[in-house]
């Protein structure tokens, strides 16, 4: 009975809304009749098919034959020429996001725990941290490029920086606000050093760290895509702006079908990563309830 009610309420409304989203889109695109602004659904499907399958170069005859099935535009042509596929671009971006998380999260947690743990470190480091946090990570990408040259490093450094500055906050507050009581109790029972840190402080800061981590994933995606839009010759950001290298990219006619397909793919990837983090975090933090 309850199950039925939940189903009828939640999932029905969810599906209705999704259908309404699709219907509204189809209506607008057919009413507006401007495929250069709001491409019809078949254009989106065509762009998706082309982007998924463009690893195989079509020969001239094949190309003409496929013309009416496959969606074609200047941006698609450029991407095809560069051999860009949706799954390939997504894999590159996911790699950058994961790298940023793998380096940035431990760095941020370390800094946050240190500042939360030691009054002295907090007094010295916090003002510097606040200053560093205020500078948007993508705005110094050119400066990093001057130092390190045009390579992978200057795309990854902003991502690592963004993730690290994000993770400092939950680690800091986790230790400061949550762990305080337990730390005093554990210390009075004689715990210290590694035991105190591994068994009291880290678990107590866990929920805050999980929330911060999920936020850090979103930040990492945003920074990665931004860095790729600015200066990368691969990845999802590059796919969105239509290939080529960064100067005068938006001059060429962009294809909304490709962009919409890219945005939906990014949203799905971000959602999937968040779901994984939530599930893994829920398992790790089972004891909290």
């Amino acid at each position: 009975m309850t199950l039925k009610r939940v189903f009828s309420q939640r999932w029905l409304l969810w599906l209705v809304s999704l259908a309404a989203l699709a219907a509204a889109y189809t209506f607008v695109s057919s009413r507006l009749e401007r495929p250069d602004l709001v491409p019809p659904a078949e254009d989106l499907a065509g762009a998706l098919a082309t982007l998924l399958g463009s690893g195989v170069q079509l020969s001239g005859a094949d190309h003409a034959e496929h013309e009416h099935h496959h969606h074609s535009s200047e941006q698609v042509e450029t991407l095809l020429q560069e051999g860009v596929t949706l799954q390939g671009a997504l894999a590159v971006s996911i790699g950058r996001v994961l790298f940023g998380l793998a380096v940035g999260v431990p760095l941020g947690i370390f800094l946050g725990l240190w500042m939360g743990w030691s009054r002295r470190a907090d007094d010295y480091l916090h003002p510097l941290y606040v200053l560093a946090r205020s500078v948007p990570p993508l705005s110094f990408i050119t400066y990093v490029m001057l130092w390190l040259g045009h390579g992978e490093a200057h795309r990854l450094i902003p991502v690592v920086y963004a993730v690290a500055t994000t993770m400092v906050i939950p680690a800091y507050h986790g230790v400061r606000d949550v762990a305080g009581k337990y730390v005093v109790a554990a210390q009075s029972l004689g715990a210290g050093g590694t035991l105190l840190f591994g068994r009291v402080v880290l678990p107590a800061a866990g929920p805050a760290l999980l929330t911060g981590f999920r936020y850090a994933i979103a930040i990492a995606w945003m920074t990665t895509v931004g860095a790729e839009m600015l200066m990368a010759e691969n990845g999802m950001g590059n796919l969105l702006v239509g290939g080529g290298l960064w100067s005068s990219r938006l001059e060429s006619r962009s294809d909304p079908a490709v962009i919409i397909v890219g945005i939906v793919a990014l949203a799905l990837a971000g959602w999937a990563m968040d779901a994984v983090a939530r599930a893994a975090g829920g398992r790790l933090l089972r004891w909290v309830r």
């Binding site: 007094d123 010295y124 705005s139 839009m229």
Partner: protein, 267 residues
């Protein structure tokens, strides 16, 4: 206690200031001044400009009105986007927190926007609304709306059911309970999301301006100094962005402290 903290903060800031100055002086002639810029080499680049060079450049940028003009243009976009986005986001967030049916209905849409990286919408907005003000302000507004929507929703949801039941049993109507119980209790969460949104708005605008660098703006200044490249200008533009973000955050915190002065504080 406070005096020690201030002294230590001052010491840390001074130490960084002096260390940078010393490093810039020491490395002035040792750092390579030929830099590979993607397609070609650029000569005569000072990677670490001295404080003196920075001060001269800063004076020039202020005198020529370039810096203030850029900051004003960027700040205007941020404020417009913030105002527009937070009104929409707070309205829908409060509504979806209060009316469960609407939450389920809005869920797919919110999910789509929530997991779309903020900057990915820029190419689409450029197609729809052209280059210039509209696409940038709307980009900020979209991101701000998503963040504040989630904050307001969470805030309304975190109100304990007991409070609502108590209000109802005392005869409060639903609208009265909403105004006098839900809104004040949701305020901290709403405010926290607004504070995040302010930071996000600045990040978004600077990068949007970098990608589409046309008008005088902070992103344009960064792009311009990156194209030559002219490191002192770049560093001053970076510092200006940082100072503006810091200022906005401090302002937001001060407003929050004022608005919630009725609450009991943790020691």
């Amino acid at each position: 206690m406070m005096a020690i903290r201030i002294r230590r903060a001052a010491f840390a800031l001074l130490a960084v200031f002096l260390l940078y100055g010393a490093a810039a002086q020491l490395l002035r002639d040792r750092l390579p001044d030929r830099v590979w810029l993607g397609a070609h080499y650029v000569e005569n680049v000072k990677l670490l400009p001295t404080w003196r060079a920075l001060a001269e450049e800063g004076a020039y940028l202020i005198q020529s009105d370039l810096l203030l003009q850029s900051a004003a243009v960027s700040a205007r976009r941020v404020l417009l986007g913030l105002a527009l986005g937070s009104v929409v986001g707070l309205f829908f967030g409060l509504f979806s927190g209060w009316v469960a049916r609407f939450e389920y209905l809005a869920d797919p849409w919110v999910t789509l926007f929530r997991f779309t990286p903020a900057l990915a919408l820029l190419p689409l907005y450029v197609i729809w609304f052209g280059f210039g003000e509209t696409s940038k302000v709307l980009l900020i507004a979209t991101n701000v709306a998503v963040v504040t929507l989630l904050g307001a929703h969470q805030g309304v949801r975190s109100v304990p059911r007991v409070y609502l039941e108590a209000a109802a049993s005392l005869g409060a109507s639903r609208s009265l309970a909403f105004r006098r119980v839900v809104l004040p209790l949701a305020f901290p969460a709403i405010f926290a999301s607004l504070r995040i949104a302010v930071g996000l708005a600045w990040v978004t605008i600077v990068v949007a301006e970098l990608i589409d660098a046309r008008m005088p703006s902070l992103g344009y200044l960064l792009a311009l100094s990156g194209a030559y490249p002219r490191v002192p200008t770049m560093l001053i533009a970076l510092a200006t962005v940082g100072a503006l973000v810091l200022g906005c955050d401090a302002l937001a915190l001060a407003l929050h402290a004022r608005a919630t002065s009725w609450m009991r504080r943790a020691p």
